[in-house]
């Protein structure tokens, strides 16, 4: 086991941890945590940050009454402070066969690195991290926990995970959304080769449930640029029909389709206040996470 652990520890990108590990990464929406943490809660609590004055109602705890206001105005007011809680961050990894594409790393492998790095960072700041591998028929899940052994579980699970089968991402995401009861951060790692409308539906579903939605749109360089020098037979990774074509002829149309698809997903994310990051598998993990962490550390 120790040897396996050291092997899977490679999924945690040290450069990224060094680069972003100093400051906590905060959620963009209030969270419902079980313990005190760095994230804004939807409840008022006893932190140092003043929130508002509220008129005292009999039966409430008189310890929170502002005596100075009573002395000046002869009225009973309660002084309320922002509550800060921990975050439940769920990492949802699309494990369909299409994620097996990419050079030098497959999209699935690259996603694993992202998940492990972020899990490490969140666990370090006391947040709970959960994992769900989205397969065609059933999901492999690790519930969100904040104990240190959680990282071991995640590393182990991811280390043995392999992308396979046809894509049923949308259904799985709907199902998963239903299963998460309280507000949480849902980070989806996928190539999102789905109809934009169904992607929009699932993001709306998540947002309706007050979850913060983050989309890591992982693509390979070849998929983006589509450079081939001779006729090629393209074989569908998910078992569909093959296609023999002259890539130079359809390149323009392919790139147009790809661009349009990306723009639609970005538009959906903008509408739903979700985050969308385009990741290319030949980039470094710290570069890939730069924008994500920058936006959250600033907050």
């Amino acid at each position: 086991m120790p040897r396996q652990e050291s092997k899977f520890l490679e999924y945690i990108d040290q450069r990224a941890i060094v680069r972003f590990g100093g400051n906590p990464m905060l959620s963009q929406f209030p969270m419902e945590g079980s313990v005190s943490g760095h994230h804004k809660s939807n409840h008022k609590g006893s932190s140092v940050e003043f929130a508002e004055y509220r008129e005292y109602t009999p039966g409430e705890d008189p310890k929170r009454m502002d005596w100075r206001v009573l002395a000046r105005t002869d009225k009973y007011f309660l002084k309320e402070f922002e509550a800060e809680t921990n975050l439940r961050s769920y990492h949802l990894l699309d494990s369909s066969a299409s994620m097996n594409f990419g050079k030098p790393k497959t999209k699935h492998e690259f996603a694993k690195k992202l998940i492990c790095t972020l899990s490490y960072a969140y666990l370090q700041q006391g947040d709970a991290v959960g994992l769900s591998l989205l397969f065609r028929n059933q999901n492999e899940e690790i519930p969100a926990r904040r104990n240190p052994s959680q990282l071991q579980d995640i590393l182990y699970t991811l280390g043995h995970a392999k992308a396979r089968g046809k894509n049923q991402l949308i259904d799985q995401l709907h199902e998963f959304t239903e299963s998460v009861k309280s507000r949480a951060q849902l980070i989806i790692y996928s190539d999102f080769l789905e109809e934009p409308k169904s992607i929009a539906d699932v993001i709306h579903h998540m947002r309706d449930r007050k979850h913060e939605v983050v989309l890591f749109h992982i693509m390979d360089r070849q998929e983006i640029e589509f450079i081939f020098d001779r006729p090629t037979r393209f074989i569908d990774l998910e078992g569909g029909a093959s296609l023999l074509t002259e890539p130079s002829i359809i390149r323009d149309e392919y790139l147009k389709q790809m661009k349009s698809h990306l723009e639609e997903i970005k538009k959906i994310c903008a509408e739903t206040q979700s985050s969308h990051y385009e990741i290319v598998t030949d980039s470094c993990v710290d570069e890939a996470l730069k924008e994500f962490s920058f936006e959250r550390i600033q907050i």
Partner: protein
């Protein structure tokens, strides 16, 4: 269009290379696992027809560029064919030049320093370039014998100047052309390109005389249905300052020589000419008044202190075309002509004797001449009608061959007697109501020429009821049915005149004398003035047959068939002059020629001074440009469509 390196056309196979490579690539495609198949499928569906058209256009342009390269390397040359490329037409087995080497071809070509002969040869060189593998044959008007060339450059060889150089002779183009066609027939040549190069001087064609022959040539070319193509190339001479000298007649009296010279010129302001008279190598100068355009001048040339026989050369001043500026004479050859009459038919004998008596000072008449008894010499003139022994025949043959002249009349009897110097047809008789009529003769020159006051001889009034047609020699007058009334044959150094009828009342009214008298006197004049062949012309039969003559006025290798001058043989002098007809400047037009030669396979073109008529310019540069254009088009097709749409939007 034809090619100098046709083997390079195999490179056209390369044109298929882009398409073959494209198909091979499709067969040898790579396999690639792919995730985003939905975009691919959609892109394939949506990839517009234009994209596919662009792809095929690109392939086509590549193929065209390679084709242009292959054609470029095969060194294409332009042709005058109406079609751009004519692959269906076979290569000719023979490319033939029928070449006019008459004297007039020595004139300069318009706007050029080359003469017409040089230009003609250059045109033939260009003409032959189209068919480099074909056999090259030249037939020219002097010798009329085909010369097969191993390579085109031979026509410029010094050694071949005898066959391709300039001459002072005339030319018979219909006969030469006919010889050319005969050779093609005999050699069983299937496909031939014939180029006839000439200045189209009318006297070299003699359309009226050769009408039948030209129609025959036309029919022969037509019958070949395009396998033989005849092209006329008309070379126009430059119109430069020129004087021309001809001799109409001459007479010798005591020690004086009187040539009657015709001097023509095309310069109005010329009033006087300095004439050089060269007598046996002694030069003297005379002044001649000149009146544009033609002056007749009879100078008195004194032969005192000169040898009894000798030669005279008269020269005009130098001008643009000097070959017609000289005239050669011999003198001292005249003697009393001895005319012997050997006629069985008494009427004929009587008429002929009467005519001979009209020239008592010039003619010594022997009415009862016997071939067997008398020694024949070359100054004699024999009038023969009816003789039979083989010894007589041999004697007469030798007499003619040595320069004698004989006038023959047919036998009275209806027998098939033929002689080695003349053959006769059967006796033809016709009723009195419908007589044999004479319709055609040369009214301009020769023994049937019009009189000095331009009156025709009364040949058309002759009433001929009986005739025997002579078969050997050139016809000087024709019956209406095309048969010969009188034939003239040159045999060795002598001449045979053969009548087809007798001055006998049973045969014709020839004895009335209105035709026979002038004709016979003219024959006497012709022979007495020229018993030693004084009025000889280059290229005529005498010059061709005289092989032992040595030039006095020119270089030793000079030949009378080609070059004018004074020649000698066994101390006898012969003056050969430029063909008189060559001084006539009447040019045959295309229309006139097409009256008799209307075949679609006979083409006409005029030589231009700016470029060669059959110049096959190499047009590789055209294909180079085409290749670059195809490559450019291919490159433009390779540009992304977005670039265009982007530019459009900006505009």
């Amino acid at each position: 269009m034809s090619f100098l390196q046709p083997i390079a056309l195999f490179g056209l196979i390369l044109a298929a290379t882009p398409i073959v490579i494209h198909l091979l690539n499709l067969m040898r495609h790579r396999r690639e696992s792919w995730a985003a198949m939905r975009f691919l499928l959609r892109a394939k569906e949506n990839s517009s027809r234009i994209s596919r058209v662009r792809k095929w256009l690109t392939l086509i342009f590549r193929a065209l560029a390679l084709s242009a390269l292959a054609i470029l390397m095969s060194r294409p040359i332009a042709s005058d064919d109406s079609s751009l490329i004519n692959f269906t037409k076979q290569k000719p087995e023979v490319v033939m030049l029928v070449f006019d080497r008459s004297s007039s071809m020595q004139k300069n070509f318009k706007d050029s320093s080359n003469n017409l002969i040089q230009r003609g040869l250059e045109e033939f060189e260009q003409f032959s370039k189209s068919w480099t593998d074909s056999k090259l044959v030249v037939i020219e008007t002097v010798f009329r014998e085909p010369i097969i060339l191993d390579k085109i450059e031979t026509i410029y060889d010094e050694q071949m100047q005898e066959f391709f150089g300039s001459t002072d002779s005339g030319g018979n183009l219909p006969a030469t052309l006919n010889e050319a066609l005969n050779w093609l027939d005999e050699s069983e040549i299937g496909h031939a390109e014939i180029l006839l190069v000439s200045d189209q001087q009318e006297t070299n064609w003699k359309i009226q005389e050769n009408e039948q022959l030209l129609e025959n040539i036309n029919d022969r070319i037509d019958a070949k249905e395009g396998l033989w193509t005849l092209r006329f190339l008309n070379l126009k001479p430059a119109d430069l300052n020129n004087l021309s000298l001809l001799c109409k007649s001459y007479r010798e009296e005591n020690d004086k020589f009187y040539p009657t010279l015709l001097i023509s010129g095309n310069q109005k302001d010329t009033k006087s000419l300095t004439i050089k008279i060269n007598i046996n190598g002694n030069l003297s100068i005379m002044k001649c008044p000149f009146a544009y355009p033609l002056t007749t001048w009879t100078p008195l040339i004194s032969l005192a202190d000169q040898p009894t026989t000798g030669w005279i050369k008269i020269s005009l001043p130098e001008d643009s075309f000097s070959h017609d500026n000289e005239y050669f004479f011999t003198y001292g050859n005249q003697k009393m002509m001895k005319v012997g009459i050997h006629c069985k038919d008494e009427q004929t004998k009587k008429f002929i004797s009467a005519i001979c008596n009209l020239r008592p000072k010039k003619i010594y008449l022997d009415k009862d001449f016997s071939v067997q008894k008398n020694e024949l010499n070359e100054n004699d003139f024999l009038i023969l009608q009816g003789f039979s022994t083989p010894e007589e025949e041999i004697k007469i043959f030798e007499f003619i061959n040595n320069g004698g002249i004989a006038l023959l009349f047919p036998e009275l009897e209806d027998n098939d007697k033929s002689y080695s110097f003349q053959k006769w047809g059967d006796t033809e008789t016709i009723s009195e109501n419908v007589l044999f009529e004479i319709s055609e003769w040369n009214r301009n020159e020769g023994i049937f020429a019009n009189t000095a006051n331009q009156r025709e001889l009364g040949l058309s009034y002759l009433k001929i009821s009986k005739r025997k047609i002579p078969t050997e020699g050139n016809t000087l007058a024709f019956y209406k049915d095309g048969k010969s009334f009188l034939k003239r044959r040159t045999l060795g150094q002598g001449i045979v005149y053969s009548f087809s009828t007798l001055p006998n009342v049973e045969w014709s009214n020839l004895g009335d004398g209105f035709v026979l008298v002038p004709v016979l006197l003219r024959i006497f004049d012709e022979c007495s003035e020229n018993p030693a062949l004084n009025f000889l012309e280059c290229g005529d039969s005498t010059s061709m047959e005289s092989s032992n003559l040595v030039s006095i006025t020119g270089n030793l290798n000079q030949k009378p068939s080609i070059k004018a001058g004074v020649y000698t043989n066994k101390k006898k002098l012969f003056a050969f002059n430029r063909k008189a007809a060559e001084s006539q400047n009447v040019i045959l037009t295309k229309k006139e020629l097409q009256k008799n030669m209307s075949s679609n396979h006979i083409l006409w073109s005029d030589a231009s001074s700016s470029s060669f008529s059959f110049e096959r310019a190499e047009i590789w540069n055209l294909f180079l440009i085409l290749m670059l254009l195809f490559l450019l088009a291919e490159s433009l097709l390779g540009l992304p469509v977005d670039n265009f749409s982007f530019r459009k939007k900006r505009l």
